[in-house]
């Protein structure tokens, strides 16, 4: 698998920095003064109990929520909020906790939507179709086929995703995000509702994307064994506050984290 992608990877540089982010809606404080940074090329996990503000954090990163205060340093600029379209254009892709696929469309079309930002033909050419628009379609189709290959989705290429089982939908959603050739991939509980076997597959896909495509990965996951195994660094949130961060091993032994979240240590 090799999506055409030239990246001047400089590992270890901060690709996005979140500084003192707070977020509240309707009087409810979802995030309070959270800061962390994600380094290029790493697998970064956000963990914490339900309602800790993990998904809100992802929503802040890709601009769906506007933080009430704080700064985001991204692409060399410091800004107080992101715009979803800008985030998508700058290579931030994501998946959702409750699958957000386009249920009426086929797997192929879903993946093709990942290429929308890269398609440049204007409306008139699209209506005309034959000629440049067709060429462009075919080019992107080729790229998408690579993702299909990678995620082993050939059999369901033409199936409307609404009728796919949950696990496959999760995989298609990952595919859509990968089709965007993202620099940063935000994954919101990609393994939820899966058994060990499926989690193993998913881990493999995520790690391959990380290794071979040099995609930076930000991950929310409840399954501690997965998180501990595949992530490079972890930040722990509780009630919207950051209560810990560090390498998996450090987190595992962090008293505050154990109290708030892990309960007993993993066997």
């Amino acid at each position: 698998m090799s999506l055409e992608k030239i990246q001047n990877i400089s590992y270890g540089k901060n690709v996005i920095e979140l500084k003192n982010i707070s977020l509240s809606f309707g009087g409810v404080q979802a995030l309070t003064d959270v800061s962390f940074e994600v380094k290029r090329g790493e697998v970064f996990a956000i963990i914490g109990p339900n309602g800790a503000g993990k998904s809100s954090m992802l929503n802040v990163i890709n601009g769906f929520y506007k933080p009430t205060s704080g700064k985001i340093n991204f692409a060399g600029q410091e800004r107080s909020q992101m715009e979803p379209e800008f985030a998508a254009k700058s290579g931030i892709a994501r998946t959702f906790q409750n699958i957000a696929l386009f249920k009426g469309m086929s797997t192929l079309d879903n993946l093709m939507t990942g290429r929308l930002l890269k398609q440049k033909q204007n409306l008139f050419m699209q209506a005309l179709y034959y000629g440049p628009a067709e060429k462009e379609e075919s080019f992107h189709r080729e790229q998408v086929e690579k993702v299909i290959d990678f995620l082993d989705l050939q059999m369901i290429r033409r199936t409307p995703v609404g009728s796919l089982p949950y696990g496959l939908q999760k995989r298609v959603e990952l595919g859509r995000a990968l089709a965007m050739e993202p620099e940063i991939l935000l994954l919101d509980e990609p393994m939820a509702g899966m058994n060990v076997e499926e989690k193993q597959d998913m881990s493999r896909f995520v790690l391959t994307a990380n290794h071979e495509l040099k995609t930076t990965i930000v991950l929310i996951e409840h399954d501690m064994s997965v998180v501990m195994d595949i992530s490079d660094r972890i930040v722990v949130l509780d009630y919207g506050k950051k209560i810990g961060s560090g390498k998996p091993q450090e987190i595992r032994n962090d008293k505050a984290v154990i109290d708030a979240y892990l309960g007993i240590t993993d066997e």
Binding site: S55, N59, F96, Q97, N98
Partner: protein, 334 residues
């Protein structure tokens, strides 16, 4: 008080009254939407059908007489001269219950879990069926409906207010239609009863539960079908009340079914799921459109703006609250 002010008050008052008449129709919509997620476009035809049936029973018309006469060359139209309106109302209520049962059996049962727009379309189909059947049963002539509710301008109010105007000005007293006052009384009664029912009874709670989540309601043992028959019968009853009110004003005829269009802005303004919303929405729309028609329309000499003005008003409100004033807040999570 100056005549202008009195006229303004009169306009507002009449607007409120018109609003109540819209609310009566909107209420039926809300009930059904809440319980089954069906946007029941047939509500207007329900009102027509109920009114037709009521007049039919009252005057002893033979159902389907036109059809029977045409097919078999017979000549009968009535089987008894006239019965008391209370009995006729009772029979009509029974008919509406039967109708609700039939609708559940033949339509809703088969459309469980379909998309809202499909259900909406089905109710339009239903509207056609009821319109056709209503015509076949009772004929499409205009019928006079009189169940004894008084109507006409209120003399009492006129006399009571005529003195309010400042000395020497030309003022004729305030106008209000007694029929509308009755409509208001009935609407207030209906809404209070509904509110108490849905908040404090087991069935009411089940109703709200069904509105929230059909599957879950099923899983705790609430029979959807019973609830639906119940709800549709209830909105059939409300349709009958609306039909009586509107029918008294204009006679019972096809146009009655078009009052649904007047209820729609009320509905989106008040929110599809809120019973008080239907009332407040109705009042707001009523006052808004009458003021607009008389003051804006009068000022710029552009008449007949009230129809679209009602929708525009609703639209403006919606821009601030996309789920209507009292609609359930959309709990959206990513």
């Amino acid at each position: 008080m100056s005549v202008e002010l009195l006229n303004f008050i009169e306009t507002v008052l009449n607007g409120l009254m018109s609003g109540i008449m819209y609310s009566l129709v909107a209420l039926g919509f809300v009930l059904i939407f809440k319980a089954s997620g069906v946007f029941n476009f047939a509500q207007g035809v329900f009102a027509l059908f109920a009114a037709l049936t009521l007049v039919g029973f009252q005057t002893g018309q033979v159902p389907f007489s036109h059809l029977i006469n045409e097919l078999f060359g017979t000549k009968f139209h009535h089987w008894y001269p006239e019965i008391h309106s209370f009995l006729a109302i009772f029979l009509t209520i029974l008919t509406m219950i039967v109708l609700a049962w039939i609708i559940e059996r033949l339509v809703l049962k088969h459309l469980v879990n379909q998309e809202p727009i499909i259900l909406f379309m089905a109710t339009i189909g239903l509207a056609f069926v009821l319109e056709g059947v209503g015509d076949l049963m009772w004929g499409s002539d205009v019928k006079v409906l009189d169940v004894g509710i008084p109507s006409g301008g209120s003399v009492w109010l006129e006399n009571a207010t005529i003195g309010l105007a400042s000395e020497g000005s030309e003022y004729y007293g305030m106008y209000i239609d007694v029929l509308n006052v009755w409509a208001t009384v009935i609407a207030v009664f209906l809404v209070t009863a509904l509110a108490i029912f849905s908040q404090y009874t087991k069935t009411g709670r089940a109703l709200r539960a069904v509105a929230d989540d059909h599957q879950a309601a099923l899983s705790v043992g609430i029979s959807l079908r019973t609830i639906w028959v119940f709800v549709w019968a209830m909105s059939g009853f409300i349709a009958m009340v609306a039909g009586i009110m509107w029918g008294t004003e204009s006679g019972v005829q096809f146009s009655l079914s078009l009052i649904a269009l007047k209820a729609l802005p009320v509905l989106i303004l008040g929110g599809f799921t809120s019973i008080p919303g239907a009332i407040i929405g109705g009042l707001l729309i009523g006052v808004g459109e009458k003021l607009a028609e008389i003051y804006i329309g009068g000022l710029l000499d552009i008449g007949a703006i009230e129809n679209w003005f009602a929708y525009f008003m609703a639209l403006v409100f919606l821009l601030f609250r996309p789920q209507g004033l009292f609609g359930d807040k959309i709990i959206e999570r990513v």
